[in-house]
């Protein structure tokens, strides 16, 4: 199961990187989104997926799932959600101001 999830994470990473390297702003944001999803899936599978019990600790529990990675993923998902929302607004505003969403035309450090 972990191997399968690792492959899924790897696929998400590669497609994310591919999209980040493309020229359209919207595709780049999609790429970032896929990239962070890959991170989350990796974070989830890194400590083992099927442990045979819920992440609840009892006294002398024979088996339990480690709850910490899940707590981390929740936090990380919330952060990446807000970042995606902000970057979508930013991309829209940039498109309105510059009249283009092609990053090739947003190059350089010349001001004005």
């Amino acid at each position: 199961m972990e191997i399968l999830m690792t492959i899924v994470a790897g696929t998400l990473f590669t497609s994310g990187v591919y999209l980040i390297l493309s020229k359209t702003l919207l595709r780049i944001i999609m790429g970032l989104s896929l990239f962070t999803h890959g991170v989350h899936i990796m974070l989830m599978s890194i400590n083992g997926l099927k442990r045979g019990a819920a992440p609840l600790l009892e006294e002398q529990a024979a088996s339990y799932t480690d709850p910490v990675p899940q707590a981390l993923i929740l936090t990380s998902i919330v952060i990446s959600f807000s970042l995606t929302a902000f970057s979508l607004v930013l991309a829209y505003r940039t498109y309105k101001e510059h009249g283009t969403d092609d990053v090739e035309r947003l190059r350089g450090q010349d001001h004005e």
């Binding site: 980040i20 974070l43 970042l83 505003r93």
Partner: protein, 491 residues
């Protein structure tokens, strides 16, 4: 347990959030924001006093003991940096009161500056690596908004680049945390350090440490600084001063913390890499600072050079060089804020940042000119000012550890830094005056108060180094001997 540790986070966060509700009362917002920065400063000074008498202060949040809960750990290094961050934010706020236009004042610039301060202080104080990530995101999110605030074409363009780079870096940070958690089974910095020390720093751990170095290299501008000059020259001057003083320094602080506390067992690999990256950063940054003829670009490249210089001391990792790094870090936060404020004022008065189009400002703005000259000397590390002591200690440590080439590179780049800032001074203040008094776009009076405040600190830190040094020495103790930090958190 000590509740004062949480105040440097709590005050700017609560007051910053409350400012969102009084959007239309700009004057009231200004008063509250200045008060919040001062209150944070007072809290951090109290914290420094307690640490100097009682040692490292730890607050276990919610009463959960160390390896299980999230602690806030205030050692002397963190407390000093929190105090300096509050001073710098206060100065930038004062500058912003006079400088920032209506279009930004009405759109939450003050609350965002306070929340940025909260994120910065949190990154300094936290004792948990995932909590560090969260505070980094608090800081970065407010910096995204501050960078794009006002919505100029250049600002939007640079924010897009800045945000993409930082999201990728943050994702790598989470990956590194995941690896570290699967290796050590804990997120508490002190606990990680203990486990790494017990099990030995094997190849896998060292690889993770290099991944972390990449992440913080991106955030601090250590070698991977290609994004920095663009995004630091885009926002309006008070925001740029705040960024230059605080953002990269948080990355530097985390590199110091990680590689003295946790990954200090394989210095022949990690610290050698840090040294070479620092050397390359200094050389490339200095070349950039010399090459450009625009004030904002030159100053932005100066930020890069100083990051390289501080991490040179970290790579050497002796008592003297670490003390030098801490001292220089404090100096650099103040001096960078000062020179960005003054540089912003020059650009504002002249109406352009192209050096070839500015001339003879000293006739109309003598005080601004001499303050600029003073801060230029401080940046280069001329003796009575604060830059000198840090540079001296770092070089002393470097020479003692026989890193002669690095020492030579850092001396040479110091000269190049001096040249680049004096170039701004000579070109913009000397020569024929191109503007008549009537043509001046504005008075630079608003810059003088924060300028004097920071300049007094630069001079004071240099002359009063004897008084300040015991604090620096206490800050270096847990860096040289991580056992002190670990025992303080876990006992």
């Amino acid at each position: 347990m000590n509740n004062i540790v949480v105040l440097p986070l709590f005050i700017p966060l609560i007051l910053g959030v409350s400012l969102f509700f009084i959007r239309n009362h700009i004057r009231l917002q200004q008063w509250i924001a200045a008060l919040a920065a001062l209150a944070t400063l007072a809290a951090s000074l109290m914290l420094m006093g307690q640490i100097s008498s009682e040692g490292i202060q730890v607050l276990h949040m919610g009463g959960w003991e160390a390896p299980y809960g999230i602690p806030l750990v205030a050692d002397m290094l963190a407390a000093i940096l929190v105090a300096v961050a509050s001073i710098v934010t206060f100065a930038c706020l004062l500058f912003a009161f006079h400088f920032i236009g209506e279009e930004r004042k009405n759109y939450y610039v003050y609350p965002l500056m306070l929340i940025l301060l909260c994120g910065v202080n949190g990154s300094f104080l936290t004792g948990d690596i995932f909590n560090l990530f969260v505070f980094f995101e608090v800081m970065l999110l407010s910096s995204y908004v501050l960078l794009s605030l006002g919505g100029g074409r250049v600002q939007l363009r640079e924010t897009v680049k800045y945000i993409v780079i930082n999201i990728v870096a943050s994702s790598l940070f989470v990956i590194a945390i995941a690896y570290l958690y699967s290796i050590t089974g804990t997120l508490n910095l002190a606990h990680i350090a203990e486990r790494v020390a017990e099990n030995g720093q094997n190849g896998l751990t060292t690889t993770v440490s290099l991944l972390l170095l990449t992440v913080f290299g991106l955030k601090a501008g250590l070698f991977l600084f290609f994004w920095l000059p663009g995004s630091y020259s885009a926002p309006s001057a008070p925001i740029a001063a705040l960024f230059a003083a605080l953002l990269t320094k948080v990355g530097v602080y985390v590199i110091i913390r990680m590689f003295t506390l946790i990954f200090n067992h394989q210095p022949q690999i990690t610290h050698t890499i840090i040294l070479w990256l620092a050397a390359l950063t200094m050389i490339l940054g200095a070349i950039g600072a010399i090459a450009y003829w625009r004030i904002k670009q030159i100053l932005a490249y100066n930020v890069v050079v100083s990051v390289g210089f501080i991490l040179f001391g970290v790579g050497v990792a002796t008592d003297a060089s670490l003390a030098g790094s801490v001292f220089y870090l404090v100096h650099d936060m103040i001096a960078k804020a000062l020179i960005f404020i003054l540089g912003g004022a020059v650009v504002f008065v002249a109406g352009t940042d192209r050096l070839r189009e500015i001339s003879g400002l000293i006739r109309y703005r003598p005080i601004l000119g001499w303050l600029f000259f003073l801060s230029a000397l401080a940046l280069a590390g001329v003796p009575p000012l604060s830059g000198f002591i840090g540079k001296f200690l770092i070089l002393q440590g470097g020479v003692q550890a026989e890193h002669y080439i690095m020492a030579a590179i850092s001396l040479l780049t110091s000269l190049m830094v001096l040249y680049s800032v004096i170039k701004i001074f000579i070109n913009s203040f000397w020569g024929e005056s191109l503007l008549s008094e009537g043509e001046q776009k504005s008075s630079a009076r608003g810059t003088l108060l924060p300028g004097f405040l920071l300049a007094a600190l630069v001079v004071g830190l240099g002359l009063g180094a004897d008084i300040f040094m015991p604090y620096v020495d206490q800050a270096v103790e847990p860096l040289v001997n991580p056992r002190i930090y670990i025992d303080a958190v876990l006992s």
